[in-house]
Amino acid sequence: MRLFVTILLFYFSMFSFEVEASQKEVEDFDPMDMIMHHIEDSHEFHILSYHNSAGEKIDIALPLPVILWHEGGFHFFMSSNFARGEEIISLNDSDEYIRLYHEKIYYTDSSGRINYDEQGNIANSKPLSFSITKNVFSLFIGSLLIFWIFGAAARKYSKRGGLSVPKGIQLVVEPIILFVRDDIARAQIDKSKADFFMPYLLTLFFFIWINNLVGLIPFFPGGANLSGNIGFTLALGISAFIAVNVFGSKEHWQEVLTAPGVPFFAKIFLVPVEIIGLFTKPFALMLRLFANITAGHIIILSLTSMIFIMRSIYVAPVTILLSLIMMSLEFLVAILQAYIFTLLTSLFIGMAVNEH
């Protein structure tokens, strides 16, 4: 039964992609454009598009708030003010204007001109934006979901006491929490210090996992490529960098900075490598999560695009089957990447804090 529902869900998801894509097909379908549009952030949350009886394309999208920092003040307005890049908005009623161009906000002049440099990149500068974009919106949903799940579980634990047999949501979260504690934290970090890092590691694990899963939901509140966005993984990479280095023991720093027991000529090479290593470890974490999740999204979208590239309905079963397989794989990748990120972070923490 559950399998059936899952398959049905996947079919629906494919259907929603198809609907979205079919509109584009009319205007000469470009898979690269469609995929990049889905991968990148956006200032509105697109829900549905269709052609009405008059043949006009109707887009249903949730406008999201734009928050800009400009000349010592915040500017708040809804992204619908941009009218998808058609409108040019003036800030402070001065001669400074902004406009939305390919889902990014640029400073521009009154005519909304976009300048390019020699490499063909956009030369216009960007205002500092704290906008609630599609990814930030998805982030809030994921965070609320996490808080709701574990708040409920914690309430149950507090109410029923630790000695009662786990029930309901406890049964769902307990094995995973125990897995994180025993196989990730305590396996890498000395037991006396592991408990200190437990809240961080648990939050990290579920933050990545739940946001990965929200990103896999193919319709409205999900589907943002949040955990496949480098900004998101950068923030987590920084958190891992801080967790590893702030709590590092004296011996760890000694080993990193002086490389004891190594001949001097080797030290000249080894110490810089160790210092670079401090940064490459979280950098690798950042890139790994970003690349894995983005790749998953790209593959699923590419498979769906196949139908419109081939312009044949007969490809659909194959595409759907392949998408189904990829989607199942993505569910595995969602937890796997959360596991790898948390495991490596706790491994690095263990290397930094453990007593040898």
Partner: protein, 164 residues
């Protein structure tokens, strides 16, 4: 590449969300959950230790019971054997006593019988003496009724005296 440039807004919001979530969950979720799990683990550990202890105790008690049964059996055997000895002694004693008593009674009886017999014999003798005297008187009266016979007797006695 656009997707490789981090957007400061998203970095900011991710950091804010992550830290908020970390502090909120640490206070309202991880602490109670981890404490509950720890309590349960300690309870299970304690219960297992307790069970092992109880089992040891039980084994010890069984051993004790066995020892007690054993010693009780030995005690019983000892008491029985002692009782046997005492019984034998008592019987022996009683028998000895009875024997001596019986002997005493017998000897008394024998003495009595002896005495009685002696008395009886003495009586008989006396009686016989009297009867004999009577008979002798009667015979003498009969014999010495005639003169001739009296003379011959006297003569006879005299003859005997002569010999002496």
């Amino acid at each position: 590449m656009g997707i490789l440039t981090p957007d400061p807004g998203l970095v900011f919001w991710t950091t804010i969300s992550f830290l908020t979530l970390l502090f909120l969950l640490r206070k309202y979720a991880w602490r109670p959950i981890l404490r509950a799990l720890k309590v349960r683990e300690e309870y299970i550990e304690f219960a297992l230790k307790d069970a092992a202890q109880a089992k040891d105790d039980l084994d010890g008690m069984a051993e004790k019971k066995r020892q007690m049964l054993n010693s009780a059996r030995l005690e019983r055997e000892k008491i029985i054997s002692e009782a046997k000895v005492v019984r034998d002694e008592i019987i022996q004693e009683a028998r000895d006593k009875a024997e001596t008593e019986a002997e005493l009674i017998m000897s008394h009886a024998r003495e009595n019988i002896e005495k009685e017999r002696a008395e009886a014999i003495a009586g008989i003798r006396e009686q016989i003496g009297t009867i004999s005297l009577d008979i002798a008187e009667k015979i003498l009266k009969q014999e010495l009724s005639e003169e001739v016979k009296q003379e011959s007797v006297i003569k006879n006695y005299l003859k005997q005296i002569e010999f002496n």
